[in-house]
């Protein structure tokens, strides 16, 4: 029998057949076991044996430091406005320039709730503000401006950031 089969049809059939294949469950089990093995054993907190009253002093001190950090991070993020000049550029440079991967800046639990449409907002900022987002930056180039794209939901919450090189 010498029936001609269009190549596209033949490949479609092969692709359909391939699509039905799934790895055996043991693969996931092995990966989960490896993950469990790779986790370091939980470290026990050393007991604090300081004089009475020190723990209260430490608590107050750390609370103050944490509050300062939150205020600083919030201020830096509020300054991180979309650059109006970047509006016309966003579509072009976002696609032409090389972009890093997304770095999450929102807690993982928030992602589960963010089912609505996501938007990419182009922004330009001094590189030192990367620190406020928890991103690494080179202090030697603190004054330089960097371009970034913010993955946001409609409420204005930033889920992730990626840098454009």
């Amino acid at each position: 029998m010498n029936e001609r089969i269009p190549l596209a049809q033949a490949l479609r059939e092969a692709a359909r057949e391939l699509e039905n294949l799934q790895p055996p469950p043991a693969v996931l089990a092995a990966a989960q076991a490896a993950l469990a093995r790779a986790q370091p054993a939980p470290r026990r907190r050393p007991a604090w044996h300081g004089p009475v009253g020190w723990s209260l002093t430490w608590s107050v001190g750390w609370s103050g430091a944490a509050a300062c950090a939150v205020v600083l991070a919030g201020s830096a993020l509020l300054m991180l406005r979309p650059d109006p000049d970047a509006a016309g550029l966003s579509a072009s440079w976002a696609h032409s320039a090389r972009a890093s991967g997304f770095v999450p800046v929102a807690p993982a639990e928030r992602w589960a709730d963010a089912d609505g449409p996501a938007w990419l907002v182009s922004a330009e900022m001094p590189s030192e503000r990367l620190a406020a987002l928890g991103l690494p930056y080179d202090p030697a180039h603190a004054g330089e401006r960097v371009r970034a794209e913010l993955l946001m939901v409609s409420s204005g919450e930033v889920l992730a950031v990626r840098l454009i090189r």
Binding site: L11, A14, A31, L35, G74, D83, L120
Partner: protein, 210 residues
């Protein structure tokens, strides 16, 4: 506290599904780095199928394919930070690990690597040690599915890989080239020649199936 940025949609564009998927993957990877097994589950559900199918289409051996997929996910679960999103997609990273695992198996089994750049390797049989059937023998087989897979396995491995990645798995060219470890132009050339050879084996008309 979530960051909040005042913004206007005039300055924004909707994130594409690929961008959203990349961002989602980043979050899952961050959770995975903290030892979150649920994140590994989610990543596995997203990525394991394509990796396993890629391996199966290359070697036709379920045990090898499962091992290669397992190697990829164990690396993902234990080598945090090895994946660099700037260099490609997570799918490409995992498929690359599976590819290396298969190469190691072939080296052990046959002392040769069908996925080397030897495009002239007429056998390149990844399915086993039997010689590929002749085109005439293939044509005798009326069932298209059987004939297509036989013909695919008769192709040199590097050609088969290009076909599997682009035509069967419909991966973007750049991702396919990254997995195969070749330049984009090389991928295009291999794909063109692979389609021609496959069409000849199937007595079909070549062309761009996409």
């Amino acid at each position: 506290m979530l960051p909040f940025v005042p913004w206007s949609r005039a300055h924004a564009r909707p994130a594409t599904p690929a961008e959203r998927a990349a961002a989602d993957a980043t979050v899952l990877l961050a959770r995975l780095a903290r030892g979150d097994g649920a994140a590994l589950d989610a990543l596995y559900r997203r990525e394991a199928g394509p990796v396993y199918r890629y391996a199966m289409a290359l070697c036709g051996n379920p045990a090898w394919s499962a091992d290669a997929t397992q190697d990829a996910f164990i690396a993902l679960a234990t080598q945090h930070g090895a994946f660099d999103a700037a260099r490609g997609t997570l799918g490409a990273y995992l498929a690359g690990i599976a590819r290396n695992a298969l190469r190691a198996r072939w080296r052990e089994a046959r002392a040769e690597e069908p996925l080397d750049d030897d495009e002239g390797d007429p056998a390149g049989s990844l399915a086993g040690h039997e010689p590929p059937p002749s085109p005439e023998a293939l044509l005798v087989r009326a069932q298209a599915g059987v004939a297509v897979w036989q013909a695919l396995r008769a192709l040199p491995a590097v050609f088969r890989e290009a076909l599997v990645l682009v035509d069967l798995q419909e991966r973007p060219y750049a991702e396919a080239a990254q997995i195969a470890g070749i330049e984009l132009n090389t991928l295009r050339t291999r794909l063109h020649r692979a389609r021609q050879r496959l069409a000849a084996l199937l007595d079909a008309s070549p062309g761009d199936p996409r």
